[in-house]
Amino acid sequence: MLNKQLETRQRFNVRMVCFFAATPVFLGLLLFQIMQLQWFEHEKYQLQADQNRLNIIPLLPVRGEIIDAQGKGLAINHIDYRVTLIPERVKDLDATLHTLAQALHWTDDKVRLLHKRIKHTRPDRSVLLDDKLKWSDVSPLSARLHHYPGINVEAGSYRQYPFAELTSHIIGYLSLANAGDVDDGFLPSEFIGRTGIEKSFETSLHGHLGHQREEVDALGRRIAVINSKPPIMGETIQLALDTDIQQAASDALGERTGAVVVMDVHSGGVIALLSKPGYDTNRFITGLESAQWQSWLNNPEKPLLNRATQAAYPPASTFKLVTGLAGLDHGSHLAEGSSFCPGYIEFSDRKLHCWKRRGHDSVNLHKALVESCDVYFYQLADQLGMGIISDTAQAWGLGEKTQIDLAPESRGIIPAQSPYMMAAIKNTQSRRKKWFRGETMITGIGQGALTTTPLQIARLAAAIANGGSILKPQVLAHIPAEVLHQVKVKPEHLQMIRSAMRDVVLSNKGTAHRALNKAVWTSAGKTGTAQVIKLSKNKSIDKDILRHHKDHAWFMGYAPYENPQIAIAVFVEHGGHGGSDAAPVAAAVIQAMATKQARASDAQVNNKPLIRKPGSDS
């Protein structure tokens, strides 16, 4: 018995030793694991803890503004207010929404929609209730904000175009960053310039992102701001554009489709660049509906097209200036002598008509330009040949991009530039693509395959006025003139052309006489009427002609004649006649310019008495 007890006690002692040994095994296992985490993998977990607690919030920069030459805002930033709600901090949702609905004039439908939106949002995330609010809307609310826990009033800024339709093509529009932009490092909530100045000067206008490092808790609530780098606002850009002139051109054009370009003849500054119809670029900021976009895309008047730079049309009779310059430059006896216009020209088995069926009798270059005789220029072009005409047109800046900072830009077409046409001109024996003599002739009066943009024509007018400097059109203000190339033209030849252009306005028979002779500034110019389809048979039924078969009307010129300041190109799509439909628009622009300058000099004179003597006023 005692033996048994001793045996039991011994066995118990052995088991106790096992327990004493087991305890450090258990605790050692734990210690090993903890050391693994805290010692060997510490850095990895430290990083993860920081990732947990730190949140980097990007701070969006305010976009630079775009102002016109007078400092008027064309693309500005409008401060607005938005009301947000954090569901979990709201005590009585129904009552709060009811109060807000009354203060912000919400409809019942909107309240119901918000209810639904709140229900589907995480309770700790803020829900946008209303935005684009004015201070007057939110000020009564924000004063009593402490009564409504969970409600926030935040200020933000959005782009606004005060002259949206008037400047839609030159200013352009913005839209939210797409997938490609996000790959380039933009945030999905950033607006990016898509067309016009907004696109060309995107890097200057955009500004630089700032950021804020915040400590957040497990629910993503902000606990503290650790540091922040404020965003840098984009640069403000001043344009050479003058909104008043642009407005005058637009008013003169009315509801018609077309384009007007006004350029400073010396600096190349773009004073007006209008394309009609315009479109409301503000719609892109508020979130463009697909239906609206589709209606713009499908509109036969193509409002999205910038007709001043992106569309090329036959320059019609305005091109006669180039043909004339080519003739003078190449010492054509026809350019220096005279010809006879019976109202038509016959060659091979074909007959080309002058616009004036009765003919112009005896015509020299001067008369042919003033009265826009077609036959004279058919003959001149026939003499010169396509090569010389192309070279001259190119020298005067046609058929090439003007390099204006408004991409994309059309270069227009000069027949000899196109490779297949070049081949056709050189190898007239080629059966398939034969270049006919008649084609050179109609090119001479600006018809046929030849096309130019209104901006190119304005620049041509500026070059004639300034002595042959082909300028880069400058959209920005205060930029020194950039002469892309200088046309080698004899001053006496240029003077002949100028005086002919002067007589277009001055002479009783001049095509722009009625529109411009009585304008405040003397001017010189050339009209053009581009045939859209052949209407030789019955010109008398003008009014019945379908709108889209009507001719394009052109006017190009400069003013004042003696001391040129501005060059103008007016293009009216399916507008009718250059003299009667396009020239009056130029007259309106000149009127606006003159008025503006008169007012400016008046202001200078009147400013002096305004200086008050000290003490004369309390």
């Binding site: 106790m16 004493f20 305890t23 605790l27 993998e41 510490h42 430290q46 808790d217």
Partner: protein, 368 residues
């Protein structure tokens, strides 16, 4: 009185009071950004628990022998009542509403079971079919009932303590080894009977990143908290994981990660050192106890503490699946704290009685 003071195990008491101080500091940090009232409540629980501890120091052990069987019977009865009238709370039917408070019968059963087993093995060795089979049957019935609640944690505690007592009572090693092999072999069967959430916890343990915001979230976040603490910790109240509420249940089951984050490896070693002292002290008392019943009791209590500590820290640091066992003396919670202090009171009573009855075995005696 002087005799009573001499007979107290001062090392046990010192490590307990150190744990109390450490636990209250950690709990302060855990609830600092939340409900500070919990900290004050825990202070009250400590007061109540220590009172219980002191009372039990003066209750003779033989008294325990008297109440163990009735306690077991009542516990079993209440457990059987639970499926009928129990309260469902967080998906498990564990509680009985007894008017002024909620009672968790499995908590009573855990201690009653230990008393019963201790008294069974007080006079027997774990050898022979009847001597082993009877206590296994006594455990199997309540264990099955508790597992079906479901309460895996308490079931584990029950089984672990039983195994510890069987080993202490001289269970032949070959039976232990056979049972171990059988147990491992039956794991797939156990898997089959596990609840979905329990399976999910096991899967999450194997690969926490498979569901980082769902079931794996707790383990990932507590690992981050522990790991980012480093050797010296982030400083008192400076733990970002704790302060910003990334830690789940940071004042109860996951409180260890608060300690590890703010105190670093130093604090972890301090805590594990205190636990090692406490457990080895209980085992020492078990060895020196005058009666086999007292030894068994102490071994059972030591095994429960060891399991709590291992499972809790193992769970928080990603060794074991998430099983809801508190960290002794550190986690917030009144009933767990009070029962653990009561258990330590019993251990202290064993120390006192050993000192009284076997003076030559008293600590510090040259004869020891």
């Amino acid at each position: 009185m002087k005799r009573a003071l001499c007979s107290l195990d001062w090392i046990l008491l010192a490590s307990l009071l150190s744990l109390a101080a450490l636990g209250l500091c950690v709990l302060y940090a855990a609830v600092y950004q939340g409900d500070m009232g919990l900290w004050q409540k825990q202070l009250i629980f400590w007061g109540a628990g220590m009172t219980g501890f002191l009372i039990l120091c003066f209750v003779p052990l033989r008294f325990l022998g008297l109440v163990s069987w009735p306690m077991y019977s009542i516990g079993l009865l209440l457990l059987m009542l639970i499926p009928l009238i129990g309260d469902v709370h967080m998906g498990a039917r564990r509680w009985l509403d007894i008017g002024f408070t909620n009672l968790q019968p499995s908590e009573i059963m855990k201690w009653a079971m230990m008393f019963v087993l201790a008294s069974w093995f007080a006079t027997r060795e774990a050898r022979g079919f009847v001597n082993i089979g009877t206590p296994l049957l006594l455990v199997a019935v309540p264990a099955a009932l508790i597992l079906s609640q479901p309460d895996l944690g308490t079931t584990l505690v029950l089984l672990f303590a039983t195994v510890a007592l069987l080993i202490a009572a001289g269970l032949p090693w070959r039976i232990f080894a056979a049972a171990l092999v059988l147990g491992i072999a039956s794991l797939p069967v156990l898997w089959h009977f596990m609840h979905d959430y329990q399976k999910q916890r096991v899967l999450t343990l194997l690969d926490p990143q498979s569901d980082p915001l769902g079931a794996g979230y707790h383990v990932i976040q507590s690992s981050i908290a522990i790991g980012s603490g480093g050797l010296f910790g982030k400083g008192f109240l400076q733990g970002t994981q704790a302060r910003l509420h990334f830690l789940p249940e940071q004042h109860t089951d996951f409180i260890f990660s608060v300690l590890a984050e703010e105190g670093g490896l130093i604090a972890v070693i301090l805590l594990l050192g205190l636990y090692a002292t406490l457990i080895s002290r209980i085992l020492l008392i078990a060895q020196r106890a005058h009666s086999r019943f007292a030894s068994m009791l102490c071994i059972g209590i030591a095994s429960i503490f060891t399991l709590y500590i291992t499972v809790n820290i193992g769970m928080v640091s990603g060794i074991f699946p998430v099983v809801g066992l508190p960290l002794p003396f550190i986690s917030y919670g009144g009933s767990a704290l009070v029962t653990m202090l009561a258990a330590l009171g019993l251990v202290m009573r064993v120390a006192i009685e050993s000192y009284e009855k076997i003076p030559w075995q008293r600590p510090g005696s040259p004869l020891a």
